[in-house]
Amino acid sequence: MLNRQGRQTTPNEIGTADHVTFTRNRALQQEEGLIFEIGHEDVSGVDVIDVDLTTSKLGGLERKEPIGLAGLTEPETMRHYVRLSQKNYGIDSGIFPLGSCTMKHNARLNEKMARLPGFGDIHPLQPQSTVQGALQLIDQLAHYLITLTGMEAVAMTPKAGAHGELCGMAAIKAAINAKGEGATRTVVLVPDSAHGTNPATAALIGFSVRAVPAGADGTVHIDAVKAALGPDVAAIMLTNPNTCGLFEKEISAIADAVHAAGAYFYCDGANFNAIVGKARPGDLGVDAMHINLHKTFSTPHGGGGPGSGPVVLSKALADFAPVPFIKKIGDALQFVEETQGTQSFGRLSAFHGQMGMFTRALSYMLSHGADGMKKASEDAVLNANYIRACLKDLFSQPFGDKICMHEVLFDDAFLKDSGVSTLDFAKAMIDEGFHPMTVYFPLVVHGAMLIEPTESESKASLDLFIATLRDLALDAKAGNKERFTGAPYFAPRKRLDETRAARTPVLRWKPPQPIAEAQAAE
């Protein structure tokens, strides 16, 4: 069974049976049931008095049936989640080279700062006179983002990268509508190599998508853009550095052509971490770009969020930014929370954005400073190129042997006829103690392997990673398939059956049916 990306989704070979224990635990790896199996409705891990409600003000809308929630006492809770945590790989466990995801070190100072009561324990709607420090923090972070990008303004509220894309594209749509071109400019240009969120965002707000092919060198060429441009084009969405890990060399010319055609340039800033302190998107002709604070500025990914995606805007778009935004009145800072009297396109969510992420990101920026942020970009690019240089004789580079930015892309040509797929290769890395790289993305490359080491890896860490990948590549080429196709052998689970999960979805626990009922149902 292959999915749309052509990758295997069923386990194709059962791994060798290993020594079986009575508990099915394996020393530190302990099997753990669901809270609904180990807990109970009568058990609680909090002590709350059970008050007698003599009067109810619920107006007859009281809950009548039990909810069915299981509780655990505190020690049981602690054990449950500690055991679960031991089945997870994090940046603190080792190199986490997921390309395009930027898994860099998460400093605990940032966690501590976000938890200061003055930031963590303030209400979004308490009087603004009582939260001036919070507004200053947001204002200061905005200043850092504007300075690093060379842009005019920044919209702080988007809650993640894709939300930022929505914000930037909405600002573009508002600007086009303000010029009276809303009915004619309905197309957004998106290169094939773009993140899936780009076309999804454009479509979400009513644009149609026109694909722009990348050149043979993996970058977008001015000729291809010019061929796609027309009076119906609202914007181009371009990732730079792009998802192949390459800097779009013709970016300035592309920006000029887009502007000359009366359209706007949206830059997907997911890979901004490669160029912080080295180049400014504002100098490259960008009109809007989201910044993933959870990538570039190291706010933790936390198993898939929360993120934060502020959007920097050019002068042409600044007035269309969503509410709320901060303005200075005398010495005080104040939120503008209503669109009335502004050109703002509206509101993207309740309240003021991801304050908890703002604090962490500013803490990162203050710690690194102008010098440290530049150095971080340089080391990220250095590390990626070091991996490239050390693997290029065994691995295949889809666009030839040339320097990359913060991530290096290989394809699966080097595995041809080995019987080992990119996915198998990734799973074998798990057995060696590594989190795999991003696989099968970008889609423009067959069997893609996108490696982003970040600046957080030491040379020793990179050397071990490189040596392991070399060993795996040699073994695959030598025909030792079992090491790959049955992998992972040593993870808490062997290869999981994704096809089965999708065909017969089981999306929640359900109480076991009593036998009599189950038989009746049949």
Partner: protein, 447 residues
């Protein structure tokens, strides 16, 4: 620089291995005239102690909820979160992991997502829930888009007592997508006739209970009218603890239930990050936005979990995806689900009762203050009072007396004169008799 492990010697060795003359050779693809040759105009790196000083000074300028009597709500609530929660979510393997794309080494994340989905489904009385959205307001906007996909209609009817920020979020997205919305004007003093707005073009009707003004809404007649017209009922909640005591939206016939999960497990955080809850009937699951975790088996037949039904999602479907969402609120989900596990059925219900009782006690105490009128006929833990003067000024003066005494409706509905004197007041289990006495005393002084 304490965060960068590559030494100067390493750098030189590595450049040599790469075959680059210097670091700038690696940035050669950036047009030369666009490269920065000097540092950006920002301060240089600072030690941990210096950063702490700067940020602590900013934090000290804010009045935190724990400093005094606190009664703010309107979509964000202060509850007691057990110490265990914050300890556990900071475990490296949770905090520093990514979206579980490699399920064999992310079973921890996947299992808690599966448990979370189950808890949310039970709590809302629905068949299935997803692995979370950014927050309640964005979940609400996504629910409207989902209803459009299910019904193939494009008109949403919004109750006037929906949280105004939620309404504006839905409005913004609808305007961008050229969808129609009918937003009723909210007013806690007059009954709303939403039934007459539901017609054969309506894709969904969006109703919040307890409402923005704290009133419990009987969803059953609205569900019936929606169903008769082929429209979906989207039920919204701001305060997850209300579901411990009030009848679930699912039991009342809702098709989609969305809400804010912040009040369980998560701190106020000045409005974010929070966690959007999203649940629906099973028959609509393939139109659902966001991540879903599902059960499966591994090659040895052992139970395990994976992200599933991803053919709905942007990384595969691109412009045909159900949503552009990529991130969820993973760590806030974890906080929610740990707190919920600690609470269990009993803890949730008891805490909900305590919130309700505290609100009742406060309403009673406020009725003794001259010029203050409690408007609600029903409420869970938050109600609206009418003051003899503009609520925003009153709240400001209360703050000067050390009391954070609620949210003026005018903060969210500015320019509406008839709402200017209204104040939303929330109570939770954290409030004591002393808090209430201080609040009442300060209010008497201010009025």
């Amino acid at each position: 620089m304490r965060y960068l492990p590559i030494s100067q010697t390493d750098r030189e060795d590595m450049l040599k291995r790469i075959g680059a003359a210097d670091i700038d050779a690696l940035f050669a693809d950036i047009p030369a005239n666009k490269r920065l040759n000097t540092l950006v105009d920002l301060p240089k790196h600072k030690s941990e102690i210096e950063v702490e000083r700067i940020l602590s000074a900013l934090a000290a300028q804010n009045m935190s909820a724990g400093e005094g009597p606190f009664f703010c709500g309107a979509g964000a609530y202060k509850h007691h979160v057990p110490a265990t929660v914050d300890h556990l979510i900071q475990r490296s393997e949770f905090l520093t992991s990514y979206t579980p794309y490699q399920p064999e080494i992310a079973q921890g994340t996947l299992q808690y997502l599966f448990e979370f989905q189950t808890q949310v489904a039970l709590l809302t009385g629905m068949d299935v829930a997803n692995a979370s959205m950014y927050d309640g307001s964005t979940a609400c906007a996504e629910a409207v888009l989902m209803a459009h996909r299910v019904t193939k209609r494009r008109k949403a009817v919004l109750s006037g007592t929906l949280h105004p920020h939620y309404r504006e979020t839905v409005r913004t997205l609808s305007e961008l997508a050229n969808d129609k919305i009918v937003a009723l004007p909210g007013n806690p003093s007059t009954a709303e006739d939403i039934l007459s707005q539901i017609d054969a073009e309506t894709s969904c009707v969006v109703v919040q209970t307890p409402s923005f003004y704290g009133e419990l809404i009987d969803l059953k007649p609205i569900a019936k009218k929606a169903q008769e017209n082929g429209a979906l009922l989207i039920a919204v909640f701001n305060e997850a603890f209300s579901l411990g005591l009030a009848e679930s939206p699912g039991a009342q016939g809702a098709d989609i239930v969305v809400g804010e999960g912040q009040s369980i497990g998560n701190a106020l955080n000045f409005g974010g990050p929070y966690v959007g809850l999203f649940a629906c009937k099973e028959k609509y699951v393939r139109q659902m936005p966001g991540r879903l975790c599902g059960e499966t088996v591994d090659a040895d037949g052992r139970r395990g979990y994976v992200l599933t039904l991803s053919t709905r999602e942007q990384h595969i479907r691109r412009e045909k995806a159900t949503s552009n969402i990529c991130t969820n609120s993973g760590l806030c989900v974890l906080a929610f689900t740990i707190h919920m596990t600690l609470l269990g059925e009993q803890g949730l219900k008891r805490t909900a009762k305590l919130c309700h009782l505290n609100a009742f006690k406060l309403a009673k105490a406020l009725q003794g203050v001259k010029g203050v009128e409690v408007l609600n006929k029903t409420y869970f833990n938050e109600f609206t009072v009418k003051l003899p003067k503009p609520a925003a000024d009153v709240v400001e003066k209360l703050a000067q007396r050390g009391v954070l005494g609620g949210v003026p409706v005018s903060r969210l509905e500015p320019g509406r004169k008839e709402l200017e004197n209204l104040l939303l007041i929330a109570s939770t289990e954290i409030n004591t008799d002393d808090d209430r006495a201080l609040f009442v005393a300060a209010l008497k002084e201010v009025l």
